[in-house]
């Protein structure tokens, strides 16, 4: 990015570096949220519906991990993916893939905990009917997840918000490499440390606008869905 430009000028001028950073931020955080959902939503449903030994313990841990410090997650993933670490041969450190994995770990407990609560509440309402219809356990999970889809959309947005806003994780596992692993949040951190506070603030406003846009789009999709399905 050019020295001394205001953030708005970069947006309007179509600055390629800025657009690349925005694109990377979105790709990483959206991918991380989707990846976290693949594990987190079924896990949440499982915790809601199945009683097994140790369940309470896992529920408490999952709830607590909603507040996992991003920098700690970043450090843990860094140690795992480092060449000197157990998964070093994968060569994932300092790449966007590592950032997606680390953010997914960060977001997963949020999705699982909120899904568990949603499904638990919904099951209390649906239990008699679904039991009377002799629905098998897998079909039960699918039905509840689908019927809860609007609440789950909000849950996914909460997860995405967490991912898009954090800097500790992606800084450590991504390395903030110019043109490769630099995201909005790490760019803001960098410009701040270079003392270019107006640019950092401008980038911050752009990031917030992006998050608002994503939420607005999701809201639109949800409204359309609600009108169709009640």
């Amino acid at each position: 990015m050019h020295e001394g430009s205001s953030a708005l000028a970069l947006v309007l001028g179509g600055d390629a570096a800025l657009y690349a950073i925005v694109a990377l931020s979105l790709v990483v955080s959206v991918s991380a949220t989707l990846l976290a959902a693949v594990v987190g939503l079924p896990l949440g449903a499982l915790l809601a519906l199945v009683r097994f030994p140790g369940r309470t313990f896992i529920v408490v841990i999952v709830n607590a991990f909603m507040g996992l410090p991003p920098v700690v997650v970043g450090l843990a993933v860094y140690l795992l993916l480092s060449r000197s670490g157990p998964l070093g041969t994968l060569g994932l450190l300092f790449t966007p893939k590592a950032m997606v994995i680390a953010q997914a770990l960060l977001v997963m407990p949020i999705l699982a905990a909120l899904t568990r609560q949603t499904i638990e509440d919904l099951w209390a309402e649906y239990r008699d009917e679904l039991t009377a219809m002799r629905i098998g356990p897998l079909a039960r999970v699918m039905t509840l997840l689908w019927d809860a889809r609007f609440s789950l959309t909000t849950t996914m947005l909460a997860g995405f918000g967490r991912a898009a806003a954090e800097v500790g994780t992606v800084m450590i596992v991504g390395g903030n490499i110019d043109g490769f692993t630099r995201t909005m949040t790490t760019a803001i951190a960098l410009e701040t440390s270079k003392g270019d506070l107006p640019l950092a603030l401008g980038l911050g406003l752009i990031l917030i606008s992006l998050i608002v846009l994503v939420n607005a789009a999701a809201w639109g999709v949800r409204r359309a869905g609600e009108i169709r399905a009640g």
């Binding site: 020295e3 694109a23 790709v27 959206v30 991918s31 989707l34 480092s82 060449r83 000197s84 670490g85 070093g88 041969t89 060569g91 450190l93 300092f94 790449t95 966007p96 893939k97 997606v100 390395g175 903030n176 490499i177 110019d178 490769f180 692993t181 960098l190 701040t192 440390s193 270079k194 003392g195 270019d196 506070l197």
Partner: protein
């Protein structure tokens, strides 16, 4: 619903995987915040890529952390400024050979109001003694970086054991140069900085250069290839190509050409044997 999700997932996967395929010719360089924050890499790396087609990915950390990263094999090359630590790095077999590249100097930055009464001095040791004696706020990077290690060495030369001689005036923040300058700016404190970062720093507030020009403030940068015997995956050929270029005429010229507001930040000296 299912097919649409699958499509999005594939598009995302392509976005993540494609760059990796495109950049087969690349190396990872662990370097310091002073080289990154000052904009030096932004200037010289495109020239290097033009000449060789090699993409350099820079991880900007403090010297201590950069050498650790290199030790772990997470970088191919280390480019830092703490000679003692660099030589130890080579000695222990983590690096192949140290090459001097360039130097700049440190400057003592402080508030224009100059509470320690040291402005314009060329004697850093006397200045530090004054800071400690008057208990004036001083920000330390505290992060094992090259700058931090230089600062500690200077306290030692001033005859002050900073571990015991520190007081509430000594603010140890454990962060990079930019953060240290920001902190000093908001606290109106003194801070030791490398000239390159200072020149490109934009949030000066009430700060200005207080002490400069002392020979003790000389700051040498060196570059080392990570030892492929220890980490076989290291891109030794490409990494060595980067080192060779840095100490060659075109590389040294690129470094010398980097200026902010007409001021040169780094001075190439690869040809000085004892650097």
């Amino acid at each position: 619903m299912q097919t649409r999700r699958l499509f999005i997932a594939s598009a995302v996967a392509a976005a993540l995987w494609a760059p990796a395929l495109a950049q087969e010719k690349s190396i990872v360089v662990a370097s310091t915040t002073s080289t990154e924050d000052s904009g030096l890499f932004g200037h010289i790396l495109p020239i290097f890529r033009q000449a060789t087609g090699i993409d350099v990915k820079v991880i900007a950390q403090g010297t201590g952390q950069a050498l650790d990263t290199a030790r772990r094999g997470d970088a191919d090359v280390a480019f830092v400024h703490a000679r003692a630590a660099e030589e130890k790095f080579v000695q222990e077999g983590a690096g192949v050979k140290r090459f001097p590249v360039m130097y700049n100097d440190f400057v003592l930055i402080g508030p224009k109001s100059d509470p320690a009464g040291i402005k314009g001095s060329k004697d850093i040791v006397a200045a530090l003694k004054a800071v400690q004696a008057k208990g004036v706020p001083f920000v330390s990077r505290g992060d094992r970086s090259g700058t931090h290690q230089a600062e500690l060495a200077l306290w030692k030369q001033a005859g002050i054991d900073i571990a015991t001689g520190r007081g509430p005036w000594y603010r140890d923040i454990g962060q990079g140069m930019g953060a240290a300058l920001n902190t000093a700016s908001s606290m109106n404190a003194y801070v030791l900085a490398d000239r390159g970062t200072w020149i490109s720093f934009k949030n000066r507030g009430d700060l200005a250069i207080a002490v400069e020009g002392d020979a003790k403030l000389f700051n040498q940068y060196g570059v080392i290839l990570v030892n492929p015997d220890k980490h076989p995956h290291v891109k030794a050929a490409l990494g060595q190509a980067f080192i060779d270029w840095l100490i060659s005429r075109p590389g040294q010229k690129a470094i010398a050409d980097y200026k902010i507001d007409g001021q040169q930040l780094f001075f190439p000296n690869a040809d000085r044997p004892g650097a």
